[in-house]
Symmetry: C2
Subunit: 484 residues, 2 copies
C-alpha cells in the first residue's frame, strides 16, 4: 500500500509492524483526524507487545506526521495527513489516454435531475446544507440595500458587475495568494456561468479540453454542449491532477484548455500541494494552454491557512480563476465571478451578450456581507461544522460499508468519494437507494469512461440520525452486492 512505515515484511522489526497496523487503522478511518489513539499501555495489552515497542511505533508515526503527541493527554491522529487517505489515483489507474467527444446519454441527465428531488435524503446533492449558510443576516442585508438604494436595485448593473462587490473580492484575493484589482474581476451569475464564459472565451467547437478524472459532471455537460472534446487525466485526492500524465498528454495531443477544480475538488475533495500547482501552471504556460480553475470550495478548508489558487502562479495571464458564493453564502443569489486574465475583454463581451449583467440586488447584498457581515467568522463556523459532519459520515461509512471499501479524507468542502470493492456496481446502488428515497451520485456521472463504476459521491454537509440511517442502508445495499 505505501511507504517506509510498512517496510519489507521479511525483516520488519516488531515496532514497525505495530506502526504499520496503527497506520492502517487510521487509513481505514477507524481512527479519525483529531481522534485520540489508545494509550501506550492499552495498546501494549491489546497487541500483546511490550510498552517500549508501542512507544517506538508511536514515535515513528509522529515522525511521519501521521499522529501527534499532546503532552499530558496522549497520541492523536493529525488533521489532514496526506498519507492517511485512501487513493483513487494514477498509481492505480494506468493511463491510457483518449480524446473523447462527449455524448452523455439520457440516463446521465436523468440521474442528475433525479438527485435534485427534494423528497430524497440529500446525500447526492452538490450544494451544501442551508443550515450552514448565514440566511437571516444575508437576507437582512439585502433588505437594507433595497431601502437604501431603491433605484440602483432595479437598474442594470454594469456587465462586469458592481464595483463595490468587485472591490471586496479583490481585497480578499490576498488570502488566495493573489493581488487582484477590482478591474480584473467580472461578476457572473454563479461559478458555472463563469466556467461557461471561460470555455467560450478560450475554445472553439472541436477543441480538446483536459479535465481531471474523476471530473465534476457539469464540466462534462458543458463540454458536450459546446462541442468540445475531453481528455481525462487521472487525479488523486493527495496530489490532484497527475502531472506526468498531463505532460505526456500535451506531447501526444493538441490541448486547447485545462479545466479543473483548485481546492477540495468535486468529486474527490483533494488538495494539490502548492508546489505542484506552480508546476502545473508552468507546464501549461510553456505550451500557452489556458487554465480554467474553479475555486468554489476554496474557502471551506479545514486547515488553518486558506489554500492558494493556481492563479497565484500565473505570470502570463493564462489562468482564468472562477468562483462564487454559492457554497458559502447563498446558491440562490447566483453571484459568482471570474478573473479572466488575458481573456478579459472577450469574457466581458460574452457576459454582456449572454444576459447583459448579473442581477443587481443580490450583488449588492453579497458586497455588503463581505464588507461588514463577518464573512470570516461565518466561514470559521461553517468549516468547523463541515469538518464535524464529514467525520461523522466517514465514521458511518467505515462502520456500515463492506470491507474493502475505501474513502477519501478531504481536508475541506463536504464531498466524500467512496470506492466500493471492485465487483460492486454503484449505479445499481444508486437505483436501490432511490427506491428508499436516498440520493447518491454514482461514479458513472464523473467520467466519459466506466472507470468509476464502483464509486459514489456523498454530500456530508447534512448530518442527522436520518443521514446515519441512510448511510447504513447504503452500506447494506453495498454489502449485498459484494456478497453475491
Amino acid at each position: 500500500m505505501t511507504t517506509e512505515i510498512h517496510g519489507n515484511p521479511g525483516k520488519t522489526p516488531l515496532y514497525r509492524e505495530v506502526a504499520a497496523k496503527i497506520d492502517r487503522m487510521i487509513r481505514q478511518g477507524s481512527y479519525l483526524p483529531g481522534e485520540r489513539l489508545p494509550s501506550v499501555r492499552e495498546l501494549s495489552r491489546r497487541l500483546q507487545v511490550g510498552i517500549n515497542t508501542v512507544s517506538q511505533a508511536y514515535a515513528i508515526l509522529e515522525d511521519s506526521r501521521v499522529i501527534e503527541t499532546r503532552p499530558q493527554s496522549g497520541h492523536y491522529v493529525r488533521n489532514g495527513h496526506p498519507k492517511a487517505e485512501s487513493r483513487s489515483d494514477a498509481s492505480r489507474t494506468k493511463p491510457e489516454l483518449t480524446v473523447n467527444s462527449v455524448t452523455l446519454g439520457r440516463t446521465h441527465m436523468e440521474i442528475i435531475r433525479s438527485l435534485k428531488d427534494e423528497r430524497l435524503i440529500p446525500l447526492g446533492l452538490g450544494s451544501p446544507s442551508v443550515d450552514l449558510l448565514p440566511v437571516a443576516k444575508l437576507n437582512r442585508m439585502l433588505a437594507a440595500q433595497l431601502r437604501r438604494s431603491p433605484s440602483v436595485c432595479v437598474s442594470y448593473a454594469a456587465s462586469n458587475g458592481l464595483e463595490p462587490l468587485r472591490a471586496q473580492i479583490a481585497k480578499r484575493s490576498l488570502d488566495y495568494g493573489c493581488t487582484l484589482s477590482p478591474d480584473q474581476i467580472v461578476i457572473t451569475s454563479g461559478c458555472v456561468e463563469a466556467v461557461t464564459l471561460a470555455l467560450q472565451a478560450t475554445c472553439r467547437p472541436g477543441d480538446t479540453v483536459v479535465v481531471e478524472s474523476p471530473v465534476y459532471y457539469t464540466f462534462l455537460n458543458s463540454v458536450q454542449w459546446m462541442g468540445l472534446k475531453v481528455l481525462e487525466i487521472p487525479s488523486s485526492a493527495q496530489e490532484g491532477m497527475n502531472l506526468d500524465v498531463l505532460r505526456y498528454a500535451i506531447r501526444q495531443h493538441p490541448i486547447h484548455a485545462c479545466l479543473l477544480i483548485s481546492n477540495f475538488g468535486n468529486p474527490v475533495g483533494g488538495l494539490m500541494p502548492d508546489q505542484k500547482k506552480r508546476e502545473l501552471v508552468r507546464l501549461l504556460s510553456k505550451h500557452e494552454i489556458p487554465l480554467i480553475e474553479d475555486d468554489v470550495y476554496g474557502d471551506l478548508g479545514f486547515g488553518r491557512a486558506r489554500p492558494p489558487v493556481f492563479k497565484a502562479h500565473d505570470e502570463k495571464g493564462l489562468v482564468l480563476l472562477c468562483s462564487s458564493f454559492s457554497k458559502t453564502l447563498a446558491p440562490g443569489y447566483r453571484v459568482g465571478w471570474i478573473v479572466p486574465g488575458r481573456f478579459q475583454e472577450r469574457v466581458e463581451g460574452l457576459k454582456s451578450l449572454l444576459n447583459i449583467a448579473t442581477a443587481t440586488p443580490t450583488q449588492l447584498a453579497v458586497a455588503e456581507f463581505l464588507a461588514g457581515g463577518g464573512y470570516d467568522r461565518h466561514l470559521r463556523a461553517a468549516r468547523r461544522a463541515l469538518q464535524h459532519r464529514m467525520t461523522e459520515v466517514r465514521k458511518c461509512v467505515m462502520r456500515y460499508f463492506p470491507s474493502g471499501t475505501r474513502c477519501t479524507r478531504p481536508e475541506g468542502g463536504y464531498l466524500l468519494w467512496i470506492e466500493l470493492p471492485e465487483q460492486a456496481d454503484a449505479f445499481r446502488l444508486y437505483e436501490d437507494a432511490l427506491r428508499e428515497e436516498i440520493g447518491v451520485a454514482p461514479g458513472v456521472l464523473f467520467s466519459t469512461s466506466d472507470s468509476f463504476k464502483n464509486c459514489l459521491r456523498l454530500n456530508c454537509s447534512f448530518w442527522s440520525d436520518r443521514i446515519e440511517r441512510a448511510v447504513r442502508t447504503l452500506g447494506r445495499f453495498a454489502a449485498a452486492q459484494t456478497r453475491s
Copy 2:
C-alpha cells in the same frame, strides 16, 4: 377554433371561443380548482370582447361543470377535465438577398459601450427611464419575500424557474392570445438570455438566421458570437418583416431560424398586423423553420388591446416566445422567460448548464408583484406616460431636425427611429453628440450592411427640458450636415 365546448370553427360564436380559451387555461393548470377566475369586466377588457360575451362564456362553462359561480364573489374553477385545441390561415414575392457572416468591428462594440455611460443624456439607451418603474413597491415586495421565505431565497430555484412565477406568467398569457400552462415556461435571467438559449437550441454554428432589417444590434452580436450567419429581411414600422421577401429568401437559401421582435420592435417600433403574424408563422411552419420571437415591449402598447404574439398562431411548437420584465418592472432584477415549444427539453438543459438557475429572490418578487401588485394598473400609467413622452420627443424632432427628416410613429414602447436626409451621416452625428454628452444610437449599429447610415434611434422614455435641449442640439448637427 376547437371542440365540444368550442364547436365548428367556421361558425363558432365569439362567446364559445372565449369559453374555449378559459377552458384551456383551466385544463393546463393556469387556473387551479378552487381558484377565482378574472371578473367578467376584467376578462372583457383583457380579451377585448363585450361583457355579455364573457357572461355567456362563463355560463357555458358553468353548464359544463367546469366552473361554478359563487354569489357575491365571482366565478371559480370546479374540478379537472380532458381535451385539446387547434388553429390556422393565408399568402405573396422577389429582391436581392445576401447571407452574411457577422463580423462586427471594434467600433460597433465601442459605440454600444459608450451609450451606457451614465453621464450622457440618455437618448441612446435601450432601457426605459427608472421613473416609469414601480421601484418602491417592487422592492418592498422583495423585502417581504426575504422575511417570509428566508431559506427559499438563498436556495437554488429549479432550473426552469419558480412555479409561482411561471403560474403568473401563464395566467397573463390570455392577454397575448395564448393559453399557456406554467409547465411550458422556463424562467431566464432576462430576455437576452432567453433569446440566446433559443438560438442555441435551434441552430448550430454556420447556420443561417433570418432577422429584420434594421435589426436590434444585440441580435447581431449574439449571432456573431455563435458563429451563425444572418440574412436581413426588410422590415417596416407598419407591416413588420416583409413576407414576400421572406418567402423569396426561403426559396433561395437554407434558413435555420427566424429571429424578430414581436411588437413595438427595436429599433423601428413597428407593429405587425395580427393577420400577417399568422401568415408569417404559417410560412415558417410549412418549412419547419423555428421562429424566435422577442416580445419584451408587448406590454407597452398605447392602444386598448395588448397585441398578440406570434406564438398565438403556433400549431407545431415551432415558435419560441421570449420576454422579460426588464422594460416594465426592473431591468436589474434580470427576470425573463421563454416558452420554447418543441425545444423545451433542450432549452431547459441548456439553461441548467449555463448558470443552473435564475436568481431566486428576484423571481419571488416579480411573482408577488404579478399576483397582487397591480401590474395592470402600473402598466396603464406607464403606457400613458410613454405615449406622452414619445409625442413630445417626436414634436421636438419635427421642429428641430432638417426638412426631409422622417420618423416612425410607434404605437407602443419608447424607441423612435429617425431617418435623416440621404446625405446625412448618423455616425458623425453620434460622434458630435458624444462631445456634447448626448447619447444617440447611430443606424450603423442596426445592420451588417450600410443601409441605415443616415438613421438614428432615440429613447423617448425620458422627458425634461434637458432632453428637449439635447434634441434641439441633435437637430442642429443634422442640419449642419445636410447643408454642407
